[in-house]
């Protein structure tokens, strides 16, 4: 009986890996194929996937996950400073450290639900941010951000006789420098692993129980489940994803700043997830893609770049089009973002994923495929209401 799993995990993973690893190819036409943006896609993808395990499955809206991102970043940089420039310890330590903090913050915050939970997580994150920005400067280097320096200890590296040379050392994976495209592929592989783990969770009894908690927590209690540990596990897992993403940020670019922990950063991942489609596997990744693309590409467009884009139009029309669009790019890119949030949520309550699903169904209908099938479904559900 294949009633629960409609899709084969191996097929999903194969397609997903192929899409991620060939990203530099198919992102080239829209100008998003340079290493930094590719890395950001992968890193924030991991962050959003993890966040979706908490928010998408249990419905608990955390407004403080940026704190774990920041903790992962700081831990990774400290690993570079104290131990070695090899990225593996940084990844592992960053993830674990974020997990430890998530356990503590989650344990307290999960005593409340709904908006009270959201505000508790927000409060913890804001406290972390404020302290990291000022009082904890010896650990975080405050506003400037924690950086590598020439006289860092790097105990393990010096143990193995790695000699310091002119300039700062680079992060590496057993010699392979982790910047540029190699950095992207490292993040991409971790993204694929992260996605696989998330896929397994979504399709496990554990995942089903989390969804059931979102659907009706009271009922879960009377069905014999102690919901708190389930929620805490989900919280810690998503916190570790955030820590992992934070560590990767430091790996591709070894500088960790406090602003990564600010509430706006937490808000960003919330927006990404909702925009893409909460609780869907791929949705959060789409949200990441859209927001990061806007932030990096749209913000950089200026009127002269617009003229280049629209120069296929007749001159008078080109001028009009550029005259209008210029308010939505460059320093107006926030306007586009805000307008898009509104449009998506008004017309596609399930996020971009819903739009895609609708589009697919429409195409199927037009082609006459599965026509009976899908209509049957809808009418049956409706009639029995």
């Amino acid at each position: 009986m294949m009633k629960i799993s409609l899709q084969n995990n191996a097929v999903v993973m194969l397609i997903f890996s192929a899409v991620v690893l060939t990203a530099p190819l198919w992102l080239a036409p829209i100008g998003a194929d340079y290493p930094d943006l590719l890395q950001k896609f992968a890193i924030f993808g991991i962050f959003a996937i993890g966040f979706n395990i908490l928010f998408g499955l249990t419905g608990y809206l955390s407004f403080g996950h940026a704190a774990f991102l920041g903790i992962g970043s700081y831990t990774a940089v400290w690993s570079f400073k104290l131990f070695t420039m090899n990225v593996l310890p940084a990844v592992i330590l960053g993830t674990i450290m974020a997990g430890v903090f998530a356990l503590a913050i989650g344990y307290i915050s999960l005593r409340r639900s709904g908006i009270y939970f959201s505000i508790l997580t927000l409060a913890f994150a804001q406290m972390s941010y404020s302290l990291a920005y000022s009082v904890l400067t010896p650990i975080t280097n405050g506003e400037t951000g924690l950086q590598l320096t020439m006289n860092d200890a790097r105990v393990i590296d010096s143990l193995f006789g790695v000699e310091a040379e002119a300039g700062l050392p680079s992060t590496n994976l057993f010699g392979q420098v982790m910047s540029g495209y190699s950095g992207f592929y490292f993040c991409a592989v971790i993204l694929i692993i992260g996605f696989y783990v998330s896929l397994k969770i979504f399709r496990s009894p554990f995942g089903l129980k989390l969804t059931a908690i979102k659907s009706n927590q009271t009922r879960m209690k009377y069905t014999g489940f102690n919901t708190r540990p389930y929620l805490l596990s989900a919280f810690v897992i998503s916190g570790m994803y955030a820590g992992l993403a934070g560590a990767l940020m430091s790996i591709t670019d070894p500088l960790a700043g406090a602003e990564r922990m600010q509430w706006t950063a937490s808000g960003e991942v919330v927006l990404m997830t909702i925009l893409g489609g909460v609780g869907t596997l791929i949705g959060p990744l789409l949200g990441v893609g859209i927001i990061k693309y806007f932030e990096n590409i749209f913000s950089a467009m200026n009127p002269s770049a617009l003229h280049e884009i629209f120069n296929f139009l007749p001159l008078w029309l080109e001028n009009i089009v550029v005259g209008i669009t210029r308010h939505f790019v460059g320093d107006g890119w926030h306007l586009t973002l805000g307008a898009m949030f509104m449009l998506v949520v008004i017309f596609l309550p399930g996020g971009v994923m819903e739009g895609i699903t609708k589009l697919f169904n429409y195409i199927k209908k037009k082609l006459g495929l599965n026509r009976v099938d899908s209509e049957d479904h809808v009418s049956e559900g409706g009639d029995r209401k």
Partner: protein
């Protein structure tokens, strides 16, 4: 002693501001069940009402500026001053109080339009979607303001007569050094009046009674055949006006800029939640509590014991209160808990 007295006064003043900002937000929560992330933007719009009125009053004739010789520059001379001389100058001086008169209808209009055009469609949607759509709206409003007024703060001074400080200490026979700015005292008074007005309105008018009944149980009220929808539109309008008034009055304290709403957004949410979702009394109590605690945490004596305490005190208090009192100071069970 003086230091403590003045910090209490300071805390009250801050608290008044916090309460006023949070009041509209909690009203929206309580009656409409909507998480309004655009509340900060409404506060900002209020402040820009003051800016706009000031700019309107100082509409100027461009006069060639002879002092600049490098290029053709112009300086402005307000028409009001050209026409009416000193009277015109005096009117300009009162830009902020005058703008209150303008802010009420403008904010009401904005509120009603926003509720009818946007919020109405989100009563039955999830909180996450409400957050996203109102956040998007806030960004759009912000960017429009930025396009018109730039990103720099715009000075919007209070009238000259209240620009200085009141010698409260001397008046009450206490220390001479106990002084406090007039405008802040006016703000405190104003906050009190607005809060009182909103309470009285909800308590003593039939309209208010229906709204309060709607806060308790929306379905029953609509079963009684009362047009709850329209009343809720008006409530949203009132919440918008309160936010706007908070903004207008704040303009002389904090020169308005397009981003000021976002800076207050998190704070106002914390105040509302600490007070208890949808509880008006709670929001006021929490506003004053947090204001006073923040003032005391900023005292040098306390900062030297707990470095950085002034930066986190509000959040720390929020955490403690929510752990001790699950629904904030005065929250009711079941509101916004899922």
């Amino acid at each position: 002693m003086d230091a403590i007295l003045i910090q209490i006064l300071n805390g009250l003043d801050k608290g008044g501001a916090y309460a006023l900002i949070a009041l509209g937000l909690t009203l929206t929560f309580g009656t409409l069940g909507v998480v309004n992330f655009a509340h900060g933007a409404l506060f900002m719009l209020g402040a820009f009402c003051a800016v706009s009125v000031q700019q309107l009053l100082t509409l100027s004739k461009s006069v060639k500026d002879e002092s600049i010789t490098f290029f053709d520059a112009y300086k402005d001379q307000p028409y009001l001053e050209i026409w009416w001389g000193d009277t015109g100058t005096a009117i300009i001086d009162y830009a902020v109080p005058i703008s209150i008169l303008f802010a009420i209808p403008i904010m009401l209009l904005i509120g009603v339009a926003m509720e009818r055009g946007l919020i109405k469609h989100f009563y039955k949607r999830s909180h996450a979607e409400q957050i996203l759509v109102t956040f998007g709206f806030a960004i759009v409003v912000q960017e429009i303001i930025k396009a018109f007024y730039g990103a720099n703060p715009i000075p919007t001074p209070a009238p000259d007569i209240v620009s200085g400080s009141a010698a409260i200490g001397a008046m009450l026979g206490l220390s001479e050094s106990l002084v406090y700015p007039w405008w802040r005292l006016i703000y405190l008074l104003f906050a009190g009046v607005v809060i009182f007005a909103v309470f009285a309105f909800l308590k003593y008018t039939t309209f208010g009674m229906v709204v309060r009944a709607g806060m308790a149980d929306r379905e029953t009220v609509s079963l009684l055949g009362i047009n709850v929808e329209r009343r809720f539109t008006i409530v949203f309008g009132i919440a918008t006006v309160v936010a706007g008034l908070a903004g207008v009055m704040y303009a002389p304290i904090l020169p308005p800029d397009y981003h000021m709403g976002m800076d207050f957004l998190v704070l106002s949410f914390v105040v509302v939640v600490v007070g208890g979702m949808g509880s008006l009394g709670g929001a006021v109590a929490a506003g004053f509590l947090l204001g006073i605690l923040q003032s005391f945490a900023s005292m040098n004596e306390i900062k030297s014991i707990f470095p950085g305490i002034d930066q986190i005190i509000i959040y720390l208090v929020a955490v403690v209160i929510l752990l001790v009192r699950p629904r904030g100071l005065m929250g009711r069970e079941g509101v916004m808990e899922d």
